[in-house]
């Protein structure tokens, strides 16, 4: 069971206090998009055995959504960041580069 820190309220809590929301940074296409684009938005997920940017909600706490960078195999958590961030902050990307360097 993961140990997660909510970046909104700051609470560090058990995974069971949170609800997972799947892959992060998936853009919702505009209404006029192609079937393929809509299908990709609905169904296509990376599911890597690597670093994964994902959405979480502090469901049984402050109720807020946030983003988390986590390695799906080692379960290392590289950082949490705001739900409205369009991409992972530089600081987290630096940490990932440092931690996953061969």
């Amino acid at each position: 069971m993961l140990l997660i820190q909510c970046p909104v309220c700051g609470v560090e809590a058990e995974e069971t206090e949170f609800a997972p929301g799947g892959e992060a940074h998936i853009l919702r296409p505009e209404p006029g998009c192609s079937d393929a684009e809509w299908s990709a938005y609905l169904f296509e997920r990376k599911n890597p055995r690597a670093v994964h940017y994902e959405r979480w909600r502090h469901a049984f706490g402050c109720g807020k959504w946030f983003h988390m960078a986590r390695h799906t195999h080692t379960l290392e958590i590289f950082g949490v960041y705001a739900a409205d961030a369009p991409e992972p902050p530089q600081e987290i990307r630096d940490r990932i580069a440092e931690r996953t360097a061969p």
Binding site: P31, D35, W38, L42, R57, T74, E76
Partner: protein
């Protein structure tokens, strides 16, 4: 009796304990386990094996025991499959043997063994295929009776169990020398330490093998010193009878505490500790391996370490004449312990060509016979145990002749030691094969890692691969105590000892005692192509029993490697999964049983409903009145009475469970236009609109009436089960997609209670209550706020029954007052409550859908004939783009229709399938089906392929394999098609 005259570090010879085994009374001593007490009483046959019903005895002295499983207790305290080696004896203990009929000594299942040729590995995959029908009626019932373990209990468990939470810097599993020293080091460093030990004693193997001297003291004194020092530390918690069952992600561990198994329970019997630890130190030691030779399963064939445990810890001689078969120096400790206790050691067979260690010399000096490069070729015996063995020379291939016969009643096997690496493996760490020491040990390159990517599980002592007391203590780190102990020579692993010439296996060489898996089974699996260790495991069931291969896995993998001509490291090992040993079902449930199993939501009127004879039904987490029983009327009668009340007079429904979400802010209208398929921003304050909510796949997920309270405030009603989900859904979009919108939401479902007042007399009833709401002036789909009977109310003129109907919402503290006021003033108007079944029939008569009945997550608004509620004007809403996808626009999708059965008295079964003309294919299914008292016949709704173009068509509805009935496809609106009744 085989109790020795002296010795036995754990027993209190002055305190006798009485117990029964298979109904027969026995006496043991305080400190005994059930296993040691039975051995002391000369009872060696304790079980029958799983598949062949072979007689079996105790093999080990600890939690790795594969054979000696018993039913413990009786009646409501009966519990199966408990290991005797872990049962601490107490007065009045009752145990019965398992897997035998009619008794252990004369078990008819033994016939299986005679027919064992018919049961090779994977026999059930091969044998019981044909005829198909025989599986259910013949094979399965027979197999269930003769195979298996103990009987499942049938009565509710009267004991209590609990979950506890704990936090620490370092959790140490295992109270042997390494665990004690690790706890001492961490405790001195000021860490919060938990040290747990699965048995009732500290010291691990040092209690038995006390020939070492630590820091100049005898081993036992050193242990006592460590325990005393730890007990004096406030930051250290010590807990016996507590097994670290599992280590999970990020330092989460489960501890299983058998708190009261050794006494009459007071308080919780077992505890499950849910611990978050910074570091987990596994000082879990090692388990000795048996050696696969012919007949290695007769009662009396035991692990060498267990034999000397019984001698030294419990003062019991497992045999009067023992043969030791060893692959290493450590095994000699068993011969020396027996010799010292005055028990005869008939011979020591050492697999090694030239055993020369200090312990070997001690044995020779004691006058014991040592035969080198020799093994046991065959064991002979009967159900009471071993009678004799025959030696066999090693290193001559499989083509050998058996040698000397040696009479004996006990065989001690010292096959080498396997580290208990489970905790490392549970949490993602890898293990590597160490060929020099013939063991899997933790791979320091691949440890389990915490959320910072740092290792958090460390195995020390035997678990880390240390074989001697000196190495065990050194592995902990920090200043190492000085150890004086006998040096040991390298071991020589033996995976299989032949019994006959020319590679013939002859007889059974058991690997897995509990599942009756033999060397021949593994070889067969390899020949049949099950080469992966995971496949061979599942095909043969090696390591799949309740002991999870603690004794058998390594030997089995070695046999597989040998058969395949591969190196051990290339075959690999199966994954160790939690829990380490079985834990009780009770402790998994903990306190969460009965009313606490799943909390129930109740409305403010719950007690009133109950007093009025309500039969409740679950709706989401809520309990709602299904109907109200009056006098002795039947179920149907009460539902019909309630329906007629609404159609003819006036009924009250407790609709408080409907979700109520406030959506407020300058962008609230814009936001709701995206959430609902229809337009909400154009709704005027004081008006209501029915809305549909889809997900981005275009499928219906919720519905409800939206009221605009003021310019910036909307109140969204949801389904009863949907309030939390819809609120979370709104928040998800507001926080993650449209976070620039100025909108706030609040779920006020429980703050407001809400009642439907429905029926022709509804207005007359409400007008009798004093207040400032003008009910006559409030139009259909209108909303007003005001005071009614002195209470602040919100009034919505909406109808789910098709009748003249108002819904009144009051702050929940007023709920009962308003409800009773309505009943008080309307006696002559025929007012009374109605339940959810009447509600459902009323809405079905009107063709109104219910989310979850008419929808199942694959249904669009167009499918249920609600295209009118899907806006064509909006650029976007959730579900809009998806509804343009080819599958959602194609012809022939299932569409909502009404069904009228040919026989008006016949009510279709819910979910029944509509059949194609040839009867070969389902073209749809019934979604709602009732008897309608209003129109005096059965009615149903169904989703049927292309249904809206099939009006008037007759379809067959399949009832069972042989029967079908005819029904005509019709409009789903069965009553008052123009809606005249609600517009008065």
């Amino acid at each position: 009796m085989t109790r020795l005259k002296s010795g036995g570090a754990l027993i209190d010879r002055d305190t006798s304990v009485t117990f029964t085994f298979d109904g027969k009374p026995f006496r043991g001593m305080k400190g005994d386990t059930l296993a040691s007490a039975l051995l002391a009483n000369g009872v060696r046959l304790v079980n029958r094996s799983y598949k062949y019903h072979r007689p079996r005895g105790v093999v080990t002295s600890g939690p790795e025991e594969p054979n000696a499983l018993v039913n413990l207790g009786s009646g409501d305290r009966h519990e199966p499959n408990i290991r005797m080696t872990q049962i601490e004896l107490f007065d009045g203990l009752e145990a019965t043997s398992q897997n035998r009929y009619p008794s252990l000594k004369s078990d008819v299942g033994v016939l299986n063994a005679a027919a064992s040729r018919l049961y090779p590995a994977g026999f059930y995959y091969k044998t019981f295929i044909h005829p198909r029908v025989a599986w259910k009626h013949l094979f399965e019932p027979v197999i269930r009776r003769i195979a298996g373990l103990g009987r499942a209990p049938t009565e509710a468990d009267p004991d209590t169990y609990e979950h506890q939470y704990a936090f620490c810097d370092t959790l140490i599993a295992g109270g042997g020398p390494a665990g004690l020293l690790a706890a001492r080091r961490a405790g001195e460093a000021g860490e919060r330490v938990m040290l747990v030990e699965q048995t009732e004693r500290w010291g691990g193997r040092l209690l038995t093998d006390d020939d070492a001297e630590i820091d100049g003291k005898p081993a036992r004194d050193w242990i006592a010193g460590q325990v005393a020092a730890l007990e004096a530390m406030e930051n250290v918690t010590l807990r016996l009878r507590t097994c670290c069952s599992a280590a999970f992600d990020h330092g989460y561990a489960l501890l299983y505490e058998r708190r009261a198994d050794h006494m009459t329970p007071t308080g919780p019997r077992h505890r499950l500790w849910r611990v978050r630890a910074g570091q987990i130190v596994g000082a879990t030691g090692m388990i000795e391996r048996p050696i696969p030779f012919y007949g290695n399963d007769f009662p009396g064939v035991m692990l060498a370490s267990a034999v000397r445990d019984y001698v030294r810890l419990w003062g019991v001689a497992p045999g009067q004449r023992t043969v030791l078969y060893t692959t290493n120096d450590d095994g000699y400790r068993t011969a020396l312990a027996l010799h010292e206790a005055g028990c005869h050691v008939a011979a020591i067979l050492d697999a090694r060509a030239d055993p020369v260690g200090i312990l070997v010399e001690q044995a020779r000096e004691a006058g014991l016979t040592v035969m080198s490069a020799t093994g046991i070729g065959k064991v002979s015996g009967n159900r009471d145990g071993v009678r004799e063995i025959q030696t066999v020379p090693l290193d001559r291939g499989d083509d050998v002749e058996l040698g000397k016969r040696i009479e004996c009643d006990c065989v001690a096997m010292a096959g080498g030691w396997s580290p208990v690496v489970h905790l490392y493996s549970h949490s993602g760490g890898k293990v590597v094969w160490d060929a020099d020491r013939a063991m899997y040990r933790p791979d320091p390159e691949n440890p389990p890692r915490d959320r910072h990517g740092e290792p958090y599980v460390r195995l020390v002592g035997g678990a880390g691969g240390a074989l001697t007391t000196g190495d065990v203590l050194a592995s902990v780190g920090g200043a190492t105590p000085s150890v004086v102990a006998a040096a040991e020579q390298p071991a020589r692993p033996v995976w299989f000892t032949p019994s006959q010439g020319k590679a013939a296996l002859g007889g059974k060489h058991f690997l897995d005692y509990q599942n009756d898996v033999t060397v021949a089974d593994i070889r067969l699996a390899a020949r049949e192509g099950f080469e992966s260790v995971e496949h061979a495991k599942r095909y043969t069931t090696l390591g799949m029993a309740t002991d999870q291969g603690k004794l058998s896995n390594i030997n089995g993998h070695a046999i597989l490697a040998e058969t395949l001509g591969k190196a051990m490291a290339d075959v690999g090992t199966t994954t160790f999964r939690p829990p380490y040993t079985p834990i009780s079902m009770g402790v998994i449930a903990g306190q969460e049983k009965g009313l606490l199993f799943k909390p129930v939501r109740q409305t403010a009127l719950h007690d009133w409903h109950a007093e009025q004879g309500a039969e409740f039904e679950p709706v989401g987490d809520w309990r709602r009145p299904y109907r109200y029983q009056r006098d002795s009327e039947g179920r149907e009668a009460s539902i019909t009475r309630e329906i007629k009340r609404v159609r003819e007079k006036v009924g009250l429904l407790d609709a408080s469970t409907l979700g109520k979400i406030i959506v407020r802010g300058p962008d609230a209208g814009k936001f709701l236009d995206l959430m609902y398929t229809n337009m909400m921003s154009t709704l005027k304050p004081g008006k209501c609109r029915y809305g549909l909510m889809c997900n981005d796949n275009g499928f219906l997920m919720d519905d409800g009436v939206v009221a605009r309270l003021d310019e910036q405030t909307f109140l969204c009603h949801t389904t009863s089960g949907g309030s939390d989900r819809v609120h979370a859904w709104m928040e998800e979009w507001l926080q993650t997609e449209w976070f620039d919108m100025r909108v706030l939401t609040a779920n006020v479902t429980e703050q407001w209670s809400q009642f439907a007042v429905a029926g022709p007399n509804a207005r007359a009833l409400l007008e009798r209550l004093e207040g400032d709401v003008d009910f006559a002036a409030l139009p259909f789909m209108g909303f007003a706020e005001g005071t009614v009977a002195g209470m602040p109310v919100r009034v919505f003129r909406i109808s789910f029954s098709g009748e003249l109907s108002y819904e009144l919402a009051v702050p929940t503290s007023y709920a009962l007052s308003l409800w009773e006021a309505l009943l008080d003033v309307g006696g002559d108007l025929g007012v009374g409550p109605y339940g959810t079944e009447a509600l459902h029939v009323l809405r079905a008569e009107k063709g109104f859908i219910v989310i979850g009945d008419e929808t199942d997550g694959t249904v669009t608004p167009h499918d249920v004939g609600m295209s009118w509620a899907v806006s064509k004007k909006k650029d976007d809403f959730i579900g809009k783009r998806a509804m343009e996808r080819s599958d959602l626009t194609r012809q022939g999708r299932k569409q909502l229709v009404g069904l009228l059965t040919e026989d008006p008295g016949y009510v279709l079964p819910d979910g029944a399938h509509a059949l194609s003309k040839d009867g070969e294919r389902a073209i749809g299914h019934v979604t709602s089906t009732y008897h309608s008292p209003t129109i005096g016949r059965s009615i149903a709704m169904a989703l049927i392929e292309g249904g809206m173009d099939r009006m008037g068509e007759t379809v067959q509805i399949g009832i069972d394999r042989k029967t079908s009935v005819k029904a005509v496809i019709a409009s789903p609106v069965f009553y008052d098609k123009d809606g005249a009744r609600q517009n008065v």
